[in-house]
């Protein structure tokens, strides 16, 4: 018996590093695997149980492998707009926004979150790409801009419909946690520890991302998991949850080979930037915005139980028209789902396609993303 595909193709050349919660995960019975150059928990009691727990209650994810960066300096604003297709003039303080690091051809180097703090910008980038991102930013930002890699900070995500109830008991701030709606953040204290908390995440559920000093991470994780609603959740369920939520995973659904428009992430090209251009890859991206991209990222729903996996070929009749970039069994829907890039003509929801998998043709229907509806806590929702 042997695994057919590797769990991760981000295998580091060096020995894996450990994160602040390494011992805490092991003490809680996690199975640890190497991911993005770190030893990380892939599961505790089992991916399906952890997945369903997060959809019903609240799951605590350790995402300390992600890069937390702080950019400051007098020219930081125009400098950042030169590397990202973001409009910072409309970015309110403490309101995270999704953006993309692009290369000159419009390919995606990373996806990230940008938040305006009081005198600079806080960025959260992917773990597997953070060293390349830092090098790219240092190369493309002027010397007046200071880039601090916040390596002494851990990052936790508390996700699920009961995340608010659990965190509201613990997080003290000038305003109450309930003031935060989806994609809003603020500074709080948890058991005396300074925490940057935003109402955001990667599961499609209501939830929070919590940046705290690494030295306090185990104590805070323990405190959060002492709440009845909360269990620790591994990377395995993080992947199945984000797939159901239709959220792309960098290195799989996004890469330098994909443009934001193909990836159906046009919303990340902010309005003013569409009019003015001046960001990396603008020529190609604006042309694709105007006349449509040649292919699109879509959701595919499969029947039966056999999952389509990354790199499987998508067929329309006898013709290969695309490729799967993420796929697996959906614990919530109880059937396999996948994300794929397909020819734009075949990207309309309802289109019947097939995925070639181990010599079999699996019927697959194009569906709108997300597969499982988002349940974010938006402005105007009841607390």
């Amino acid at each position: 018996m042997n695994e057919i595909e590797p769990e991760s193709d981000e295998a580091a050349e060096l020995a894996p590093m450990t994160l602040p919660l390494d011992g805490w995960h092991r003490a809680r019975g996690a199975r640890m695997v190497e991911f993005a150059g770190y030893m990380m928990p892939v599961q505790y009691e089992g991916i399906i149980a952890e997945h369903l727990w997060t959809r019903e209650h609240a799951g605590l994810f350790d995402v300390s492998h992600m890069g937390q960066l702080y950019l400051s300096g007098e020219t930081v604003e125009p400098s950042l707009e030169a590397v990202l297709p973001i409009d910072l003039s409309t970015l309110q303080r403490y309101a995270p926004r999704y953006s993309l690091l692009l290369d000159e051809d419009g390919g995606v180097l990373d996806d990230l979150m940008v938040t305006r703090w009081d005198s600079g910008f806080y960025l959260v980038v992917n773990g597997a790409t953070k060293w390349d991102d830092i090098a790219h930013l240092r190369e493309h930002l002027p010397d007046e801009v200071t880039l601090n890699h916040l390596e002494d900070s851990a990052l936790l995500a508390l996700q699920g419909p009961e995340a608010f109830a659990a965190l509201d008991r613990l997080a003290m701030g000038e305003t109450s946690l309930g003031e935060l709606t989806f994609m809003k953040g603020g500074t709080f204290k948890i058991d005396g520890v300074e925490a940057w908390i935003s109402r955001s995440g990667y599961t499609g559920e209501d939830g929070f991302e919590i940046s705290i000093p690494a030295d306090d991470a185990a104590r805070i994780a323990e405190l959060l998991c002492a709440q009845n609603e909360v269990k620790p959740i591994g990377l395995g369920a993080r992947d199945s949850l984000r797939l159901e939520a239709g959220l792309p995973l960098y290195g799989h659904d996004l890469s330098p080979e994909t443009t934001p428009i193909e990836a159906d992430l046009a919303f990340a090209i902010n309005k003013r930037r569409r009019a003015e251009g001046g960001f990396p890859g603008a020529e190609r991206i604006l042309a694709e915005l105007a006349s449509g991209p040649p292919r699109l990222r879509v959701g595919l729903a499969l029947e039966g139980r056999m999952a389509a996996r990354e790199h499987a070929v998508v067929m329309a009749g006898d013709e290969a028209i695309g490729m799967v970039t993420s796929g697996g069994f959906s614990p919530s829907l109880q059937h396999p789902i996948a994300m794929a890039y397909v020819d734009a003509a075949q990207a309309v929801p309802g289109t019947e396609l097939a995925i070639e998998m181990r010599g079999k043709m699996l019927p697959a229907r194009v569906v709108s993303l997300p597969f499982v509806p988002h349940r974010y806590h938006r402005k105007g929702d009841r607390p």
């Binding site: 018996m1 199945s240 056999m306 999952a307 181990r358």
Partner: protein, 123 residues
Amino acid sequence: MSRYFTKDHEWIEISGQVGTVGITDYAQSQLGDITFVELPELGSSITKGASVSVVDSVKAASDVYTPVSGEVVEVNEALGDAPETVNSDAGGSGWLFKLTLSDPGELDGLMDEAAYSAYVAEL
């Protein structure tokens, strides 16, 4: 009856001319939640070491290699609706297929339970 094990974490239990094949408890624990099992074709002739079945878990798909050569005479149809049986009872009701052995001498290269346990302990 006697049971043999492979380094790839399959087991085979011999009863007369027929061998029953499954994956070990260690294997299922490494795979995690199993969501689908692709079984070999009934009546097919399979060769020792060939990939004849695939076990799909939430995170990945894994090949299952037949420990010996022979002809597939039965597959565990119950796994179609309940693939999780491989998790809950890998060494019993979670068996995958049965075959008639074409060369019982192939069993000589496999491990017994004690040797397999020692092998897993080293992993």
